[in-house]
């Protein structure tokens, strides 16, 4: 399972970035479950995207073949990731770009801040990017006196609302139009006072607000959806045009990407540009995709920097099962089908990566013990695997990480967390038929204590289970007993 690494693993460092919440998932989820407005907003939104996605996936007769190719391209890329990154670096450099390497969030933030300060600017425009949230770039830049303006409408709503994103694709999914109007009236200078809550009017207010910034910005920061190793081409997939504004108008462009985003060849894009839009927004194709290579004289930024980020990715790669999370193309389809996400929303996960993928990616980036409750934040129903365009087996990864957590606890002779204790107890019981029979008897003896067929609370360690849900009472007769009683008849 875990591979020995000659060097100690580098994880995403503590105290910076958006991978660790203030409280564990069970605590945060409990608060979220009490918020009916939030649940209604999220339920409506995820249902809408789910239906759109299903309709456009249905149209594609070779969807399964594309998924398989997507999975295989990713696996093959990861197997020679070092070679592909070297090729990418060489191609970008050949085309006038400068490549930087960052072991973790702190290194990346320092590189980016230095690059911005070297231009003499203290304001930058930003394209929505998961990785800059992962490393806490905006906060780090602020500490250096640099203001970063989010230009994606949803990110702008989140930024102006002094809030946190709750979904990868639609970060302000938890806000409704009336709330957006209030935020704009309060925080957007020069917004018309008679602004209504019509989405078109709100979008036009954002357009007017950002226009001057786009036309005058000297520096932009972006992430990337893909990087083609052999040509050195970077791609950003988007809808609003704010991405194109940031990627083409400023003089300097700084792109930061996780090292797993590389694909070997231009041809590989034919797989992902089909899988991504249909899976994420439920569109046949997103309105805009920009592709650029280094610097093109007379067209776009004349200075281009690419920051390649590790921040826990090589540690993840070292787990030969868990590494599969690095195949993720951040489409968010798994979130929209997850019954747990639908009820708790994204904030409960405490990480910028919520939902099923967040539950397996986050603990690997931070080191499992920093996010040990996340692999338990799932019902293992399997809907996420079916939705995943690159066939990441999230349910199996959840189970794998639960085991790893239990092992780490045992290694340190620590009292296991309730979830881990419950699971190892189950494992211990199931190892022997005698223990299993005894457990069955014990359970049946407990039946009279259940009310209307449910246990409201169980003794430790099972109490951890019943603090957030009831447990069904055992049936009066077990399968084993039924078998013995009926097989001779």
């Amino acid at each position: 399972m875990s591979t020995f690494l000659g060097m100690p693993a580098i994880h995403a460092p503590r105290g910076v970035g958006g991978l660790r919440g203030d409280e564990s998932f069970p605590k945060a989820a409990k608060a979220a479950l009490g918020d009916t407005q939030l649940r209604a907003n999220i339920g409506r939104a995820t249902r809408t995207i789910r239906e759109k996605r299903a309709a456009v996936v249905e149209e594609v007769p070779d969807w399964e073949e594309l998924r398989l190719a997507g999975q295989q391209v990713k696996a093959a890329t990861m197997a020679r990731l070092d070679d592909h990154l070297r090729t990418l670096e060489e191609a970008v450099t050949r085309r006038g770009g400068v490549v930087h390497w960052a072991r973790d969030a702190n290194e990346a933030n320092a590189i980016i801040a230095d690059l911005i300060l070297a231009t003499g600017e203290t304001e930058v425009v930003k394209v929505k990017s998961m990785v800059t949230q992962e490393i806490g770039l905006n906060e780090a830049l602020e500490a250096q006196g640099i203001t970063a303006t989010e230009t994606d409408l949803a990110e702008l709503i989140v930024q102006l609302g002094h809030d946190k994103p709750s979904h990868i694709l639609v970060p302000a999914i938890h806000r409704n139009r009336a709330e957006v109007r209030e935020i704009f009236l309060r925080e957007m200078p020069g917004v018309p006072p008679d602004l209504t809550d019509d989405p078109r009017q709100l979008a036009m207010a954002a357009r007017a607000h950002l226009r001057q910034k786009f036309l005058t910005a000297k520096v932009a920061v972006s992430g990337a959806n893909f990087a083609v190793a052999d040509s050195g081409t970077l791609l950003v997939v988007e809808s609003e045009g704010n991405g194109r504004m940031c990627l083409t108008l400023p003089e300097t462009l700084i792109t930061v990407m996780g090292i797993e985003k590389v694909v070997p060849t231009w041809q590989d894009l034919e797989v992902f540009l089909q899988l991504l839009p249909r899976s994420s927004t439920g569109e046949r194709m997103n309105p805009y995709t920009s592709a650029w290579t280094g610097v093109t004289p007379g067209d776009g930024p004349q200075a281009f920097h690419l920051v390649l980020l590790d921040n826990g990715r090589t540690a993840t790669l070292g787990d030969h099962v868990g590494r599969e999370v690095l195949h993720c193309i951040k489409c968010s389809a798994c979130m929209n089908v997850c019954p747990v996400y639908e009820r708790t929303g994204g904030h409960a996960y405490g990480s910028v990566y919520p939902g099923p993928i967040g539950a397996v990616l986050t603990p690997q980036l931070t080191g499992i013990e920093d996010n040990s409750s996340l692999p338990f934040a799932s019902s293992l129903c399997g809907a996420c695997f079916d939705a995943c365009p690159v066939r990441i087996d999230i349910p199996s990864l959840l189970v794998h990480l639960r085991e790893r957590h239990t092992e780490e606890q045992a290694k340190e002779h620590r009292l296991p967390t309730p979830e881990a204790a419950a699971l190892s107890l189950v494992g211990w019981v199931m190892q022997s038929p005698r223990r299993f029979r005894m457990a069955e008897t014990a359970l049946r003896m407990a039946r009279p204590f259940a009310r209307s067929g449910r246990f409201r609370s169980l003794p430790f360690p099972l109490s951890a289970w019943t603090t957030s849900r009831d447990a069904p009472a055992p049936p009066p007769e077990t399968f084993r007993e039924w078998w013995e009683r009926t097989r001779d008849q």
């Binding site: 580098i10 398989l68 036309l215 050195g232 194109r244 090292i259 920009s290 067209d299 776009g300």
Partner: protein, 209 residues
């Protein structure tokens, strides 16, 4: 050890014992066929898809191109064109030149360009910064983009579209006008890019295809 060597070394160690497996590409790579086994009319399919994205689509013969463009830009002035777009397509349009900064481009109401290739199945048009498509900024700042696509530039699928492009050019893939669904998933066209996209599909001599 520097960050670069450190990261590359860690990857190498993490990949110990991992083999590279071949990739099966069993998905469709050639032209589309309908269930009846025949080629769909790609220009019509492209038109349907673009209209679905709320773009305006006009079809014409080569000799009707100038008048089609004239009607589309009638309400917009001034009009800019990519430097390689023939003067005859729109005599009123001024050619783009390097002296125009982003703020200057903001003064134009419309822009006229050609395209490199279009994908019918997804309703996507690709511009690769050739002279008749111009630098990326010109199709971004004016509010109306009129894009001329010849029927022989229309292909069926995404793989075919990508194979007609060279990865190291600046490329913009456009599928309908700019749009957002960030507020309660209500689609609103035109946040930051051109709010209106008009596509002129020019039939070529062999007919539609």
């Amino acid at each position: 050890m520097g960050a670069r060597e450190d990261i590359l070394q860690r990857i190498k160690e993490a990949n110990t014992g991992i083999e590279v497996r071949a990739v099966q590409r069993d998905y469709r790579r050639g032209p589309l066929t309908t269930t009846a086994g025949e080629l769909p009319d790609l220009v019509t399919l492209l038109e349907e898809r673009l209209v679905d994205y709320r773009a305006t689509v006009v079809r014409c013969r080569p000799d009707g191109l100038a008048s089609a463009v004239e009607r589309l830009v009638a309400a917009a002035s001034p009009v800019l064109r990519a430097p390689g777009v023939p003067h005859e397509w729109c005599p009123a349009a001024e050619p783009d030149h390097e002296g125009l900064a982003a703020q200057d481009l903001d003064a134009y109401a419309a822009v006229l360009t050609a395209a490199t290739v279009a994908c019918a199945e997804t309703g996507t048009i690709a511009l690769d910064a050739s002279p008749d498509q111009g630098r990326r900024a010109i199709t971004l700042i004016p509010d109306l983009h009129v894009c001329i696509v010849r029927a022989d530039q229309v292909v069926a699928s995404v793989p075919e579209m990508l194979s007609r492009l060279e990865g190291d050019r600046p490329i913009t893939f456009i599928s309908g006008p700019s749009a957002t669904s960030d507020i309660e998933l209500d689609r609103v066209e035109g946040v930051h890019g051109p709010r209106t996209l008009c596509v002129v599909l020019v039939e070529t001599d062999e007919g539609d295809r």
